[in-house]
């Protein structure tokens, strides 16, 4: 079989990262270009071209079999409130579902902290005369003529997109389907999202919010994806366009145009997949990734090579009830600003200088002391090798600002102040890592830390040390980890159907038929996307709880053709999972099924990165020595270039490894070695004996 090329492109706030994998050689090449927020497709195409130019003989685009893209078009439309003009149709009496939400406020003590403005304004939230009960029975029939009048009014208002989410629609979709057909006869050009199709799951606020988000971002995603597909075709790319989803899988562009809300967290999901890839490569099933950028850090816990998923997330305060990789974001990045508060404590962040104006040492007008400035002063950043030497470092200016704004008022010297800034930002990140691990019942000591992003590898060793984590693994290309992770994604579709029933009384046939329906949908969808049945994996899950609990746990439902005994063993699995998660089980209590879920995976062929052979010498080429400040003293520190580190070569701290888009700091009591995939494995010296 012909080995194809794969390309992954991740659009970030500042840079667009591109990864190319030559599957026949297992060779990876990467490129970074500036992002183009006015039309991100420009950056994407430029990135691909740049990569092609870099590669010897260029890239034969017709051989590109998989092209995967992580896009922020949906995210930005939502966060910047620049989606389509959207109307909501819901059950009469519940028009304020978005405006009341869960009636809670975002912060306890801040009078000014508001809930975000609902994405559908109140005058575009329409109540439809109808009512379905929780049993699925029709309590009040849909008034079709009134509905038609509402749709007519919506059309005249210049609405682009319509969301439909009726009370208990998960139990009976007929009213929603009727409304949809009314819309297609009166207003066929309108975009429509309806809840019984996209998210037949109970709890009306979260469902309606998700449906509205989908409706709101869909037209933008459609325009963008259509334009990009056209340009890729012009370039001669053979692959379909795959879009990264928040759940760690990809979908075809066609699907993304209908299920646009699935793409809102696509970038960070790519980072988590890099964690999965590394976890498999180093045979450590449990890792925690920390992606530290300019303004924030994304933290994700991976257990058994699988990232934790959640259906409880929100983006900018808008709940999205779709499965997403559980990523905790904290306001700690290279651009985080250091300041002294009124109580006299040194604080860092959450305010950030971001990429513009950026840290003082970048010389682009930044005049607040940042984490990056502190790293520069400590000698951890090469003053003449930022972005491979493309950028000048203004060390003196950074020193002055830290002296003036921090050191002087604390009565300490500039280096102490810089070290203090690092200690404080690390303390914030440690709390973030504890939040994804300890607070969820995991012990970080059983995990390997995988730091990436431009700034992550500078802090990884100290974080791991503070948390007693044994090993730190820095991926070969820490600056483009999100794009790299996307290369390994499978096509993934999630289906859900709420079916609330007590396990003793559950109608097993009904359960089986709901799973069957979802499986048929999954098979059909993946079949349309070109997957043969051998490359399709179906996973049944059930969200279960003790009666009337407010939380559910997701249990895998094994096998097909369910019978009563299977229900017992599923219930048993639930008790066990509950015990593992919450420390106790109520084995005599009745258990409820709440949501039935199906994950349909279309497996893409696995890929292999070519192993780099040891050329026979033990000592990597030393670039330089530099004075670097570690734990209160200045040490003569070896400086290496990442490209020179070949498999098996040991380096000993204190050392710094530099590469184009990142810097790795290895503390004096640590040592490092490169593995066959180019990952840098860092461990404590004593333990290595």
């Amino acid at each position: 079989m012909e080995k194809p090329f794969r390309i992954a492109i991740d659009t970030g706030g500042t840079f667009t990262d591109v990864c190319l994998l030559d599957d026949s050689q297992g060779e990876l090449s990467v490129a970074k270009v500036s992002s183009t927020p006015f039309n991100p497709a420009v950056g994407v195409i430029e990135g691909i071209k740049k990569l092609s130019e870099k590669k010897k003989g260029g890239v034969p685009f017709k051989k590109v079999k998989f092209l995967i893209h992580g896009t922020t078009v949906a995210t930005n439309a939502l966060l910047e409130h620049k989606g389509a003009k959207t109307a909501l149709l819901t059950t009469e009496g519940f028009e304020d579902v978005l405006h009341i939400g869960r009636q809670n406020r975002p912060r306890l003590y801040d009078f000014w902290a508001k809930r975000p403005e609902p994405i559908v304004p109140r005058h575009l939230c329409y109540g439809v005369p109808e009512r379905i009960l929780y049993t699925g029975d029709v309590f009040k029939a849909l008034d079709e003529s009134k509905t038609a009048a509402i749709v007519q009014e919506i059309k005249e208002q210049g609405i682009q997109s319509i969301a439909i989410s009726l009370i208990h629609s998960y139990a009976n979709p007929t009213h929603e389907q009727k409304i949809k057909s009314i819309i297609s006869s009166i207003f066929p050009e309108g975009y429509v999202t309806f809840s019984s199709e996209v998210l037949p799951e109970f709890r009306e606020y979260e469902r309606t919010s998700t449906i509205c988000i989908n409706a709101f971002v869909m037209p933008k995603v459609n325009d963008y994806v259509a334009d990009l597909e056209r340009q890729l075709k012009d370039l001669g790319v053979a692959s379909e366009l795959y879009i990264m989803q928040s759940n760690g899988g990809v979908i075809t562009a066609k699907m993304a145009r209908q299920m646009s809300a699935r793409t809102v967290l696509s970038g960070p999901a790519g980072g988590a997949l890099t964690g999965v890839f590394i976890s498999a490569a180093i045979k450590q099933p449990n890792v925690i990734t920390i992606d530290m950028g300019g303004t924030s850090s994304d933290i994700c816990l991976i257990e058994d090579e699988t990232p934790r998923l959640t259906t409880e997330s929100d983006i900018g305060g808008y709940p999205i009830k779709l499965p997403m990789i559980d990523i905790v974001t904290i306001g700690a990045g290279g651009g985080s600003i250091a300041w002294i508060d009124v109580g006299g404590a040194l604080r860092v962040g959450p305010e950030s200088a971001g990429a513009d104006p950026g840290p003082v040492c970048y010389g682009r007008g930044g005049n607040e002391p940042t984490v990056t400035d502190a790293n520069a002063i400590l000698g951890r950043i090469n003053p003449s090798y930022l972005l491979g030497g493309d950028m000048e470092v203004f060390l003196e200016e950074a020193r002055e600002v830290i002296e003036e704004k921090i050191a002087r008022s604390l009565g300490i010297n500039v280096r102490k102040a810089a070290e203090g800034i690092i200690s404080v930002i690390n303390a914030n990140m440690i709390r973030g890592i504890r939040r994804v691990s300890v607070e969820r019942g995991y012990d970080p000591r059983e995990f390997t830390l995988v730091p990436f992003g431009g700034a992550g590898p500078m802090h990884g060793v100290e974080l791991a040390q503070a948390l007693n984590m044994n090993e730190i693994v820095v991926p070969a290309n820490p600056g483009i980890a999100s794009a790299f992770g996307m290369l390994s994604a499978d096509v993934r579709h999630d289906f859900v159907q709420t079916h609330i029933s007590i396990s003793d009384e559950v109608d097993v046939e009904r359960l089986e038929s709901i799973y069957r329906e979802m499986e048929d949908q999954g098979m059909e969808q993946l079949g349309r996307e070109g997957f043969s049945s051998q490359s399709i994996v179906l996973i049944r899950l059930a969200d279960m709880r003790y009666i009337r609990q407010a939380y559910e746990l997701s249990v895998e439902v094994k096998g097909v053709g369910l019978n009563r005994e299977d229900i017992l063993s599923i219930t048993e699995d639930f008790h066990n999972l509950h015990e593992r998660t919450y420390g106790y089980a109520r084995r005599k209590e009745a258990v409820e099924f709440v949501n039935l879920r199906l994950v349909a995976l279309g497996k893409l062929p696995e890929f292999h990165i070519k192993e780099k052979k040891d050329p026979g010498t033990d000592i990597p080429e030393l670039v330089d020595y530099r004075e670097v400040f570690f734990e209160g003293t200045t040490l003569k520190t070896s400086i290496y270039h990442r490209n020179h580190l070949i498999q098996g070569r040991q380096i000993s701290g204190p050392a710094i490894v530099e590469q184009m888009d990142s810097t790795i700091v290895i503390f004096p009591n640590y040592k490092a070695v490169t593995d066959q995939y180019g990952n840098l494995l860092i461990k404590k010296k004593e333990e290595a004996k």
Binding site: F94, D96, I100, L108, Y134, A345, L346, R434, E439, A550
Partner: protein, 581 residues
């Protein structure tokens, strides 16, 4: 030489102790059985010095802000340090010690290292039931504490690591939900175990002396920060009073009065002039009153201020004994947390509004508006109990409208989705909506109150309603008008409408629809100064009527076009201004 604390280690240690408190909280929520703790998060966890000074706290509702500061010291008065041994766990729910109502059970454990008690850990959890005259432990008809449930004086539930199953049996036997309570006690023990393990790690990393030095420094830090913030305010003395509309037994107004004095870097909050304690259960303990004072001050002065002993050292609070703000034994106290707390917060914010009007909102909805329905579920033939608290309008701010339909001030629990209510109980939600025209008009308007209409399906039920702000509506500030008042009534299956008092327990027939409406928030500034385009937008969004726009805001909206009729508006405004002058 005694080491001197430095501002960098301070911040690192503050993070460390804060994460101890948060991890205790996460463990408590994770392992709790009852939804009260698990979903509503009605619990707090905290770390203290061995003297009982609060170092770090993870609270999930503001009401616990003041409770956790005083609870441990009060218990130590009854149970001095000498009596504590490693592995002990003290519990209490005595409102006259713990400061909260009976369902809130506090657990305190010491952390010993080499025979020295270096720290104390505590958690507070709201149990589903605590016995007494009414399920849930918050009766509106109690006249003495004995009717509100079992009282637990400080006792050791665990002695030198051994759980006293007899005490546990005695307690759980006295509550309606013994299974849940038993589980929640286990979760409380687990939370403090997590805390102890973590604090040992911190102490072993930094050494006992350093750890203790920085515990004190964290407390001093909060105090310094608060002193600095208070110093920024101008000196002066400001009084404010407001009323509760009855104690559940009678409709007599009950006055709460405060005089707040800012003097350099101290604040004196004096409740002298407040009415005597009531016969019904609306009496607050001093700790509840402190929680409300601290909430108001923290929100107005330094919302990010970390909770610790030092934070409120610059604040002196005078609560005369035997009044609504410091009840004397054996007064019933169970409902103070729900309604009285909101009114105490209102008067403190009211007094503050005279000192720093730009940092305080007009009055918010002013009640947690509790609503319970109980009866036999005809589907399962089991007893059910639906309980929910409802948000309302937030008071307007100097430069921002109040939020609509939201929990304000002393609580922040989430609502129950209609689809969850209908699956779980024999009830049908007919309507869940904002109430148009319930805003307090102003340059910035108060938030709208909200309404829930529920029909009792196929069975008779007992309902209890506890609301406020029907007669005395939430006040506006600087010319802002009061928000719309609360209301409740029932509609029988035959369509007959009957008004209900603001606090009531009554029986209803099958098919009865109960309508509850909560109060809107007060406005800020004169409604005449509201930007007409905003008024127009509110009309367009159906939040206020064309009539209200004209009568209260003097903005004339053309019904046909939905646009502002500029000429008529100008005319009306000049008329109004002349009238005002």
């Amino acid at each position: 030489m005694k080491p001197v604390p430095d501002p960098i280690t301070l911040e690192v240690m503050r993070n460390a102790f804060q994460s101890v408190a948060e991890e205790m909280g996460a463990a408590l929520i994770r392992t709790a059985l009852s939804t009260n703790i698990k979903d509503r998060r009605d619990c707090s966890t905290a770390v203290y010095t061995s003297q009982g000074d609060l170092v770090a706290q993870a609270e999930h509702i503001p009401l616990h802000l003041g409770l956790m500061v005083s609870i441990v010291k009060k218990t130590l008065e009854k149970f001095p340090l000498d009596y504590l041994e490693p592995g002990d766990a003290i519990i209490t729910n005595d409102p006259y010690i713990s400061g909260s109502h009976l369902p809130d059970i506090c657990m305190i454990t010491p952390v010993f290292i080499e025979d020295r008690c270096l720290a104390l850990l505590a958690n507070l959890a709201h149990h589903v039931d605590i016995g007494g005259i009414a399920p849930g432990g918050m009766p509106t008809i109690s006249t003495e504490i004995f009717q509100e449930g079992i009282q637990i004086p400080p006792v050791k539930l665990r002695k030198r690591g051994k759980l006293d199953e007899e005490i546990l049996a005695l307690i759980t036997h006295n509550v309606r939900t013994s299974y849940e309570s038993y589980g929640d006690f286990q979760a409380q023990l687990a939370a403090n175990n997590v805390g102890e393990r973590r604090i040992r790690e911190v102490i072993s990393k930094y050494g006992p002396d350093m750890a203790m030095l920085y515990m004190d420094e964290i407390i001093n830090y909060s105090e310094r920060r608060m002193l600095r913030q208070i110093r920024e305010l101008s000196n002066g003395s400001y009084s404010f009073e407001d009323f509760l509309e009855g104690d559940g037994l009678s409709d007599d107004l009950l006055k709460i009065k405060v005089t707040l004095t800012i003097e350099d870097d101290r604040i004196l909050v004096d409740f002298t002039g407040t009415d005597k304690q009531a016969r019904g259960s609306v009496n607050a303990t001093r700790a509840v009153t402190l929680a409300c004072v601290y909430f108001a001050l923290k929100s107005a002065i330094d919302p990010e201020l970390p909770s610790s002993e030092g934070a409120f050292r610059p604040v002196e609070v005078i609560t005369p004994s035997g009044t609504l703000v410091k009840a004397e034994f054996p007064a019933p106290v169970s409902n103070a947390n729900i309604n009285t707390s909101q009114r105490i917060a209102d008067v403190v914010l009211g007094a503050l509004s005279k000192a720093i009007p730009k940092r305080v909102p007009a009055a918010s909805t002013g009640s947690m508006s509790i609503f319970t329905i109980g009866g036999m579920d005809p589907r399962s033939r089991e007893y059910y109990s639906y309980i929910e608290t409802y948000g309302g309008g937030q008071g307007a701010l100097v430069d921002q409208d109040g939020m609509d339909g939201v929990h304000t001030n002393m609580t922040n629990t989430r609502n129950a989705p209609a689809e969850v209510i209908e699956n779980a109980y024999p009830l049908r939600v007919e309507r869940y909506a904002l109430i148009p025209d319930s805003d307090g008009p102003g340059k910035f308007r108060g938030g709208l109150g909200m309404t829930r209409e529920i029909t009792v399906v196929g069975h008779p039920a007992t309902i209890t309603i506890g609301t406020e702000r029907r007669k005395i509506r939430p006040w506006g500030l600087l010319g802002g008008e009061p928000g719309g008042g609360s209301d409740c009534w029932i509609v029988s299956a035959q369509g007959g409408k009957k008004s209900l008092p603001s606090k009531v327990t009554t029986q209803v027939e099958p098919g009865t629809r109960i309508v509850l409406r909560t109060a809107g928030g007060g406005g800020y500034g004169s409604p005449l100064d509201r930007v007409p385009e905003r008024v127009c937008q509110d009309v367009k969004d159906g939040l206020i009527s064309v009539e209200k726009a004209r009568d209260e805001y003097s903005v004339v909206i053309n019904q046909e076009t939905g646009q502002i009729d500029k000429e008529s508006t100008a005319l009306l405004k000049s008329d109004q201004t002349i009238k005002k002058d």
